[in-house]
């Protein structure tokens, strides 16, 4: 049970981190030139974005939760179980971002959910 809560912490912190980083990168804009000066400018404007640091913070939280989980659960459970993040992201896309999700993707989410339930038995 503790393992499931820790798994949820890994997945949720990771998802929040993804959203923050994505938001930051949208604000910064596309990297159009691969010259050193352009890359430095890009890095500088990304570093000035608060959402990037928030995203990195959440990613760090997810990483340390993962380490705590690896310390006490089996790797052959932890790795496939983290796939539950696809289900969380699909639900978030549907209910928070109001994206349309087709039947194939729901079937995939159902399949992943069943798989995680089976390995956690």
């Amino acid at each position: 049970m503790t393992h499931l809560f820790m798994l949820l912490a890994v997945v949720l912190a990771g998802a929040v981190g993804d959203v923050c980083v994505a938001r930051a990168m949208k604000r910064v804009g596309e990297l159009t030139s691969f010259r050193l000066a352009a890359i430095m400018r890009f890095g500088w404007s990304a570093a000035l974005n608060g959402y990037l640091w928030l995203g990195i913070l959440w990613k760090a939280v997810a990483f340390f939760c993962l380490l705590a989980l690896l310390e006490r659960a089996e790797l052959s459970w932890v790795v496939p179980a983290t796939a539950v993040s696809f289900v969380v992201e699909l639900a978030a896309a549907r209910f928070f971002l109001h994206e349309s999700v087709n039947a194939t993707r729901w079937a995939g989410a159902l399949c992943i959910g069943a798989g995680v339930a089976i390995i956690s038995w």
Binding site: L67, L70, I112
Partner: protein, 137 residues
């Protein structure tokens, strides 16, 4: 060819990276409650233990290879193509961490691999890319 090479690197780096991190974490004292002192201890462990350093470096290699592949191939191709990492992780966990994988766990893992492939399918209808296009830079 380029895509196959990069995705192979991604799968290997991800799977071995996780094994190394597990080995590193099991070298610390028996699992204690993840409180503030655990966090300090673990943070120091991440930058000093060879397994942890190797694990983190491999995860950086994985992320770079994954992002590189995404820069020219669709997620609907990259995601299922990296799904074999779930199977490889189970095999490595068996050989390097002495975990016994029950038939039930294999079944669940297979479900997850299939599910990952299905979840990725939606993007395909919007933009179809042929196999030749995909394999060329």
């Amino acid at each position: 060819m380029k895509t196959a090479a990069v995705l192979t690197v991604a799968i290997l780096a991800n799977s071995f990276g996780n094994v190394f991190l597990t080995m590193g974490m099991r070298e610390i004292n028996p699992a204690s409650a993840p409180d503030a002192s655990w966090l300090r201890h673990t943070a120091a462990h991440v930058v000093t233990n060879p397994w942890m350093i190797a694990g983190v470096l491999l995860l950086i290699v994985f992320l770079s290879a994954y992002l590189a592949a995404l820069s020219w191939a669709d997620l609907s191709f990259v995601l299922p193509a990296t799904a074999p990492a779930y199977i490889l992780s189970a095999i490595l966990a068996h050989y390097f961490l002495n975990e016994s994988i029950s038939p039930l766990r294999w079944a669940g893992t297979s479900f997850i691999v299939v599910g990952t492939c299905l979840v990725a399918q939606s993007g395909r209808s919007k933009r179809t890319i042929t196999t030749e296009e995909r394999s060329k830079p």
